[in-house]
């Protein structure tokens, strides 16, 4: 049940408090997984497939094993008898997913064997000595081709198709009959990229043969998900698996699916006699075989519009490419529908959604997961339709936006947008960028033949998932709802200690959690210790615990708030007894003896040490009816969800909807074709803001990820499955020299669905990708160009403008004007 926020002064929530994390991180005293060294630790290195698709004929590890300093090797064949294939989320999935390729490899970089040695360099040397013989098979590198099933990746499944479903709402065909305009868009494509956290995956695992427990120190960012998969895979009770994370160097969803490597490390440790084994991923391994974002193609899109340019219906076929193994998929097949109509009011639509495997790196829930692809699609539709109908892009959006007075707004598929003000954000963004002045400049520049475009991208960051949407993709999936745990206690000497089931990667959870508790207890955040990272032993996690999907401000902080409230209630009860007063006479504050509780009437007080002392080491003071007071309060917050209607694919799928609206001005140089951002505005709405600079920082970070994805970052493969961007030097993650100056603005439409009015934020909905596509589109409409891909650089713009190989409007878009 959502807790109402009241009866507390908001002294700390909403303040720009310096982060608690800063001290250790600035001093270089962060504890990242590779900083951890254990006694007797050995080092693991993977042997990986150079082929995208091949049968494994033989693996010879003898030369590697003969090298001095090698402890053992491990292959797929060996682990199959010891394990179950990983749980598949998809319905009746016949895919058999092991952490090594067993009989065949399905993507370049797939692990085939592992070597464990006394040092990392010996493991490196030994890995080179493993001889693998392959028989190459025909690789499948295109999703639409994959669906023809000419070359099948998973023989047991008999098809490359992972999932198919139709999402249909309203009366689509009637709408097309009645439409004043129909716009047809042949093809749009959202490219494959990754947020590539700066710290790669690291796993230290120890299968302790004495107590038969597995101990992990790692940087997985969704540990509760990982242990469910690992437990089933390794045939080990979940309680026997301990997972600890400490400082994590970014994840952005990419470190959610490193549980296969966690499995290998545990099995390697077991084979090595229980020695701890460390695996440190290299950047090249990360680029080829950690996780990529979903790639999606949009075909045969039809849009029905009325005479005023209001979109009334959309039909489209969406084909999602999830790489070689589904893993977190096919959840992505329904996650996008959290934002089914985007920020627009259309009620009728039919989306035919198919997901397929291909011989590429398996995907993971990359920042903006599955929604950014769909939101990009809708923004392209809006801009293309606006242009076809001769309506300016901003005006088109204003006509089609969901109105502020319509919130909470129920979408065609039953999701409830909690709050928002898209017209207000557009006005603010236009003001910040100087819309009218830029429009003038653009007109003058276009007279000189310069290619300048101004683009708008509106996007949503839906936060706090209802995992019941998994039942839409798989009616048999035993998952629904969402929850997070927290613990708030007075330790034996009265210190306030908070633990949460999250595993932050830079989002400032220690700080914001302290702000929340400080407000509850009316003390300062300095007096509150928040435990770093995640640890199963702390027992505050639920099956959903981790840090993903833009939810900490809602799920994590609601759990912290709930735990703090429970603690406060106990403290008040105990203090009332000790101070011989009524409970409502007791107030919380800081006095001469530190944080304390005081009876207003008598002025008597007891400090936190005093309370903790009674409960912990002096309990004969307590009357029997107060034995239930522990001052150690665990609280599980649950999101108020229901299981969705699986047949109709209808129901509320996310609790909060933050929104972003960006505007970019871009010039494409007519001679070099290099796109340059001349001006950029980012407006954000995440409801009540807990710590303004933390929010602003993440908006900047998400903006950088989006600009990088739009102009620099593309996970590219050649026709035979070689990954072409396997190093940072090929992939070129965005640098300081590439970043424009970002003007930042924000509004706050509090969410009625969270105790504080905050909405989860952080993913940022990939707004820059939509915005830059829009700006490039605006610049190049006059040249007969349609921006059909989410990735654009000088090379692709050259091929579009000069070579006319791609992005040609006459091939991609058709307008039909109906009579009347």
């Amino acid at each position: 049940m959502a807790i109402k926020f009241g009866g507390e002064e908001k002294k700390w929530v909403g303040k720009a408090l310096p982060r608690k994390e800063e001290d250790r991180l600035l001093r270089g005293r962060g504890r990242f997984a590779d900083d951890i060294k254990l006694r007797d630790m050995a080092y693991l290195r993977f042997v990986r497939s150079p082929y995208a698709h091949a049968r494994i004929i033989s693996i010879d590890t003898s030369a590697a094993e003969a090298l001095a300093g090698v402890v053992c090797t491990l292959t797929g064949k060996e682990i199959v008898p010891q394990t179950q294939p990983f749980i598949e989320i998809g319905p009746d999935s016949k895919v058999r997913d092991y952490p090594f390729a067993v009989s065949k490899v399905r993507y370049q970089g797939e692990p085939v064997a592992a070597v464990v040695a006394e040092s990392a360099s010996i493991a490196d040397d030994a890995a080179e000595l493993v001889r693998v013989e392959y028989e190459a098979l025909e690789p499948v590198m295109d999703a639409e081709q994959a669906l023809q099933d000419n070359s099948i990746l998973h023989e047991e499944a008999g098809t490359n198709k992972i999932w198919h479903g139709v999402f249909e709402y309203g009366d689509v065909e009637k709408d097309f009959q009645d439409a004043a305009f129909v716009v047809r868009i042949d093809r749009l494509h959202f490219h494959r990229f990754s947020s590539t956290p700066l710290e790669n995956n690291v796993v230290i695992g120890e299968w302790n043969l004495k107590d038969d427990r597995i101990y992990y120190s790692c940087n997985n960012s969704f540990p509760s998900f990982a242990i469910q998969f690992l437990s089933a895979h390794l045939n080990v009770h979940i309680d026997r698996i301990r997972v600890q994370t400490s400082d994590i160097g970014g994840s952005f969803g990419i470190k959610i699916t490193n549980y296969p490597q966690m499995a290998v490390v545990a099995l390697a440790s077991k084979k090595a006699g229980g020695r701890p084994v460390k695996w440190v991923e290299t950047r090249s391994e990360h680029m080829t075989s950690s996780a990529h974002g979903n790639e999606r193609t949009f075909r045969d899109t039809r849009v029905a519009l009325d005479k005023n340019g209001l979109i009334t219906a959309i039909t489209s076929r969406h084909i999602d490419d999830c790489g070689a193994y589904p893993r977190y998929e096919p959840l992505g097949c329904v996650i996008w529908s959290q934002v089914f109509p985007g920020v627009y009011r259309f009620k009728n639509a039919r989306i035919d959604f198919t997901q397929t495997v291909t011989n590429k790196c398996p995907v993971g829930p990359n920042r903006g997961y599955s929604r950014m692809q769909h939101l990009w699609f809708l923004e392209r539709v809006i801009d293309i339709c606006a242009h076809e109908l001769g309506i300016p892009a901003d005006e088109m959006r204003m006509r089609n936006y969901i109105r502020p007075e319509e919130f909470p707004y129920t979408t065609p598929n039953g999701c409830v947008y909690d709050s928002g003000n898209y017209p207000g954000m557009l006005e603010l963004a236009k003001q910040l960028i100087g819309w009218d002045a830029w429009k003038k400049k653009q007109a003058e520049a276009q007279k000189q033949g310069r290619l300048i475009g101004i683009g708008i991208g509106t996007t949503l960051d839906s936060g706090t998932n209802n995992f019941g949407q998994s039942q839409i993709v798989n009616p048999g999936a035993p998952f629904s709802g969402n929850s997070q745990g927290a613990n708030c206690k007075l330790d034996i000497y009265g210190e306030v200690v908070v633990a949460v089931g999250s595993c932050p990667q830079g989002q400032g959870h220690e700080t914001t959690a302290a702000q929340v508790v400080a407000d509850v207890l009316n003390i300062s955040p300095d007096l509150i210790t928040v435990r770093t990272g995640f640890d199963t032993e702390r027992n505050v996690h639920t099956g959903f615990s981790g840090t993903y999907a833009s939810q900490f401000a809602v799920s994590g902080l609601s759990a912290v708030h709930g735990a703090a409230q429970k603690l406060k209630t106990e403290m008040k009860r105990l203090a009332a007894f000790v101070l011989e007063s009524e409970e409502d006479d007791v107030e919380f504050g800081v006095g001469a003896q530190g944080p304390e509780l005081r009876a207003k009437r008598t002025g008597k007080s007891i400090n936190y040490w005093g309370l903790a002392n009674i409960v912990n080491v002096n309990s004969a003071v307590l009357p029997v009816e107060m034995y239930d007071i522990t001052l150690n309060c665990r609280y599980i917050w649950r999101a108020p969800f229901k299981v969705p209607d699986k047949q109709r694919k209808y129901g509320n799928l996310t609790l909060t909807y933050a929104s972003q609206l960006h505007i970019a001005v871009i010039e494409v140089d007519r001679e070099t074709f290099i796109p340059t951002i001349l001006d950029y505005v980012a407006v954000d709405d995440c409801g009540t803001v807990i710590n303004p600079p933390i929010v602003e920082g993440q908006v900047y970070g998400a903006t950088a990820h989006g600009i990088g994805a739009a102009l620099l970052e593309n996970c590219a493969y050649d026709a035979v499955g070689n990954m072409l961007t396997s190093t940072f030097s090929d992939y070129t993650p965005i640098t300081a020299l590439n970043m424009p100056k970002i003007k930042y603005g924000h509004i706050q439409t509090p969410s009625p669905h969270s105790y504080s009015g905050a909405k989860g934020m952080g993913e940022g909905g990939a707004a820059p990708i939509h915005t830059i596509s829009a700006a490039l589109q605006d610049a190049l409409f006059p040249n007969g160009i349609i921006i059909e891909d989410s990735f654009n650089n000088a090379d692709s713009l050259f091929r579009a403008l000069v070579g006319k190989e791609i992005c040609q409007a006459e091939r991609l878009v058709k307008l039909e004007r109906r009579a009347s």
Binding site: P18, R19, E21, E22, D23, L25, L26, R27, G28, R29, G30, F32, D34, D35, L67, A68, G69, S119, S121, I122, S195, T196, P197, L198, E199, D247, I248, G249, G250, F252, T282, R283, S284, Q505, G506, Q507, G508, P693, I694, E696, G697, Q698, V699, Y700, G701, T703, A704, H705, T727, F728, S729, P733, I734, T735, A736, L737, M739, K741, I742, Y744
Partner: protein, 162 residues
């Protein structure tokens, strides 16, 4: 093979302390700092000398310690992030980064602090363009660089004030 490789004796100064060690020639400076000296503040983020998470100061110049062999640092003075603070007090550059929210996950931060240190040691009032050029070899995935620019400007201001 490892037993056959002749180790080389090196003597170097790291954060004011002198170390004498016998090292394998192929050991990278970053590996030496992290594994031998347990100075784990310097990080590894890539394998093609792109990201700069490993940046340290070598004889006053910022270098990517993943692209220097440890034995090449024989006789050198090295400064890592751990050497910035004095008697538990943060260096003004560290403070400026904290005050400007110039970090989130903290993984790129040590390298950036050193690059900033070099910049400000020879440029008291760097322009926006000079700041971007100075950190062009330091990749950050969290902050979007905006607050890092602010942090470096603040650090420069604070330096000129003292």
């Amino acid at each position: 093979m490892p037993e056959n490789i002749e180790k080389i004796s090196v003597k170097l100064n790291v954060n004011g302390k002198t170390y004498v060690r016998n090292l394998e020639p192929r050991l990278l400076l970053v590996e030496f700092l992290r594994e031998e000296l347990d100075l784990t503040g310097t990080h590894v983020g890539c394998d093609t000398t792109y990201c700069g998470a490993c940046t340290v100061l070598m004889n006053g110049a910022a270098v990517k310690s993943c692209t220097v062999f440890a034995v090449q640092a024989d006789g050198a003075e090295i400064l890592t992030v751990e050497g910035l603070e004095k008697d538990g007090q943060l260096h003004p550059i560290q403070k400026a980064f904290g005050d400007s929210y110039g970090l989130q996950c903290g993984y790129c931060t040590p390298g950036l602090l050193i690059s900033t240190y070099e910049l400000l040691s020879h440029n008291k009032q760097p322009s926006d363009k000079q700041i971007r050029k100075a950190i062009a070899g330091n990749t950050c995935r969290c902050t979007g660089y905006q607050n890092i620019f602010k942090a470096i400007q603040l650090a420069a201001q604070n330096r000129t004030r003292t």
